[in-house]
């Protein structure tokens, strides 16, 4: 404001309205010319600065993955002696070596991880939608209490119950089985909450009533009308659940000790042991890490639009 006052000393005060002789109402503004020029330069400088920061952050995100891709194609001696930004020619060799190993069953682990992640995501999506449908559409005694309860249990980290869970599975002889990792997905408060939020937006009660008049059973209303309406939300949550399950290390590593039953994160976590023979061929280590990361990266790049939208959608709505 000080600047304006100095510029306008003796003139009409800034921001005051004048009615000129021809009846037009004009607003007196501070002289803009000089300011605009410096403003534009300032904007350009700011823009350059912003782009530099963006490029640096992007490089920070992409550099590790690029190095991973490059080192997947190089031999152990190349990796440990000379750093390179461009691909080598030993991809096929590393690939076949890592699958030929007897102490690490990577193919088995990939299949196990895929199976667990897929099954638990399907269960999570289906039953969360069902639970959300129940809370959203029906009125029964204690509905609000149940809803509050689900919100409260949302934040309990699974690690704190891990000990009891492990002991329970021991008693039930369920260690080294997949169902203890798949079934708990049915009760997933987070996904339930997302589905509930989505249903509020897309599911009018009139549709349900119309279906009831037409004689549809409650069960078929859910399957024929509600689920198709929920497809976008289901897809986003499916991806998030899949990623969460695929990446999970803590509880699977406590439960699965048999080599045939292990998942990818467990196999990878064994590489940290320096005596693990795979560490004598870093090319193979990179291949294994790549197999853990790259399928998800590809999936993400295909669906990134929906994922980012789905991630912010919930946030914007509130």
């Amino acid at each position: 404001m000080k600047l304006f006052e100095k510029n306008n000393a003796g003139k009409t005060p800034v921001g005051s309205t004048n009615i000129s002789s021809n009846g037009c109402v004009s607003l007196t503004l501070a002289p803009r010319k000089k300011e605009r020029i410096s403003g534009t330069t300032q904007l350009i400088i700011r823009r350059i600065f912003v782009y530099i920061v963006l490029v640096i952050l992007t490089l920070m995100c992409l550099f590790p993955i690029w190095i991973l891709l490059v080192n997947m194609t190089r031999t152990h001696s190349q990796i440990s002696t000379q750093f390179s930004l461009w691909f080598g020619t030993h991809f096929a060799e590393n690939w076949s070596n890592v699958f030929a190993r007897t102490n690490i069953k990577l193919d088995k682990a990939l299949l196990n991880s895929l199976l667990i992640a897929f099954c638990s995501s399907v269960l999570t999506c289906y039953f969360s939608a069902l639970t959300a449908f129940s809370i959203q559409i029906y009125n029964f005694k204690g509905k609000n209490i149940i809803f509050t309860f689900i919100l409260l249990i949302m934040m309990i980290p699974s690690q704190v119950g891990a000990l009891g869970f492990l002991q329970m599975m021991n008693d039930m002889h369920a260690t080294n089985k997949f169902w203890p990792l798949i079934l708990p997905a049915i009760a997933s408060p987070i996904v339930f909450f997302y589905m509930k939020q989505y249903m509020e937006a897309v599911l009018p009660f009139e549709i349900i009533e119309a279906a009831r008049v037409d004689g549809a059973s409650e069960f078929s209303i859910f399957h024929i009308i509600v689920l198709p309406l929920m497809v976008p939300a289901l897809a986003v949550q499916f991806i998030f659940c899949f990623v969460g399950s695929w990446n999970n290390l803590f509880i699977p590593s406590l439960l699965l000790s048999k080599e045939d039953m292990q998942t990818v994160p467990i196999v990878i976590s064994k590489f940290t042991d320096t005596s693990n023979p795979i560490n004598f061929d870093l090319g193979q280590v990179y291949i294994a890490i790549g197999l853990a990361i790259i399928p998800l990266v590809i999936m993400y790049l295909i669906f990134s639009r929906f994922i980012i939208k789905g991630m912010t959608a919930g946030a914007v709505k509130g």
Binding site: L43, L57, T124, S158, L166, A187, R305, G314, K317
Partner: protein, 364 residues
């Protein structure tokens, strides 16, 4: 009267279906989450551990608060470092030491994360700046969030190994003259863990803050520009105060995620805890008690302590998200206050929950 009655009856039967649909969720929740949690509480008060001498488990026998006493009082004389400079050594209980490790690592990642995310959120939403390729930037920056933390940790362990690419680059640039072992330095191990956390979460925080900035009424910014407010001033006088609730929420949820830090720290320290255990997090400690020491009593006590810490933090998020709402007038709205409370706290609860989920949260 008859049709009315029948309609009434129909309503009851419909609502009965609602309860039926809730059954799978609650059966699974009680069976596979609540009962195990209760069992963890039970073990916290039992003497129950694997004796290597006998080669078998001892207990469980009731021992009162002994496990908690052990958890809080067992400690050692530890050395303390500041940028790899020793600043002394004194006695500290283990749990406080590991909690301090966890919080230091979390802060090392969180401080740059919140600064960068805030700057990005403001730049992405700045109409004057007109950034190009925003979708590309956002896509790339959110990507690390979906990468397997264990694999990411392993990858960085390799990148920063004493003959790894980072050392090779630094040597070829002339910054380093001989091989340097990042893994032997207290500071660098923590730094690498914090760096991974930063990379994994700054995109997520950016998207969250962006939705907060976009939620601010555009006309406020416009009138600020008309009034001649500089970008700097607009930020401190308008954006920052209005974003405060989201900040508090980001802060606490990140803290909840931070104290659950396990995968990355476990991988980067090779399952050990780093030099002088300076990077052993609380969850790594829990994992060690369960899997290595096989002391289920103490592990139970530690779990309970962690449970109450997280519960207190989550409650504060819940409280913040409720108290930030302005009381609105109107009888009808007043009547639906409860409902609104849940509806409005959506961004916080949902995102908070997603973070917990990604950190290996509720869905096992």
């Amino acid at each position: 009267m008859k049709p009315l009655l029948r309609r009434h009856k129909n309503h009851i039967s419909y609502n009965f279906w609602g309860l039926i649909f809730l059954i799978p969720f609650f059966v699974i929740f009680i069976w596979l989450q609540l009962v195990p949690l209760g069992r963890t509480f039970y073990y916290a008060f039992e003497k129950y551990f694997y004796s290597t001498g006998k080669g078998s488990f001892i207990g469980p026998t009731f021992c009162g608060w002994d496990n908690f006493a052990y958890i809080f009082t067992n400690g050692a004389i530890r050395k303390y470092y500041f940028f790899d400079q020793s600043i002394g050594s004194w006695w500290m209980p283990d749990i406080a030491y590991y909690l301090a490790n966890t919080l230091i690592i979390w802060l090392m990642g969180f401080i740059p994360q919140i600064i960068v995310s805030l700057a990005l959120a403001i730049w992405f939403t700045d109409a004057r700046l007109k950034l190009k390729f925003t979708r590309f930037w956002k896509t790339v920056m959110y990507m690390p969030n979906l990468i397997m933390a264990a694999a990411f940790g392993m990858l960085f362990l390799m990148l920063f190994s004493s003959d790894g690419p980072v050392v090779q680059i630094l040597m070829s640039m002339g910054i380093l003259h001989e091989q340097f072992s990042f893994g032997d330095s207290e500071f660098w191990v923590r730094f690498i863990i914090a760096l991974i956390n930063f990379l994994m979460w700054f995109g997520n925080t950016t998207l969250l803050l962006m939705s907060g900035v976009m939620g601010i009424d555009e006309s406020i910014f416009e009138s600020a520009v008309v009034d001649g407010s500089s970008a700097h001033h607009t930020f401190w006088a308008i954006t920052f105060p209005l974003l405060k609730p989201i900040f508090i929420y980001v802060f606490i949820t990140s803290l909840i995620g931070g104290i659950q830090l396990f995968d990355v720290a476990w991988m980067v320290t090779r399952g050990g805890g780093g030099p002088n255990l300076t990077s052993l997090t609380v969850m790594s400690y829990l994992y060690m008690l369960i899997n290595k020491a096989k002391n289920y009593g103490q592990a139970g006590a530690l779990s309970i302590v962690m449970f109450f810490i997280t519960a207190a933090l989550s409650m504060s998020v819940f409280y913040v998200s409720i108290s930030q709402k302005n009381p609105e007038k109107g009888v009808a709205r007043e009547r639906r206050k409860r409902f609104r409370t849940y509806k409005d706290c959506d961004p916080t609860r949902l995102e908070m929950a997603r973070i917990s989920h990604q950190q290996g949260g509720i869905s096992l």
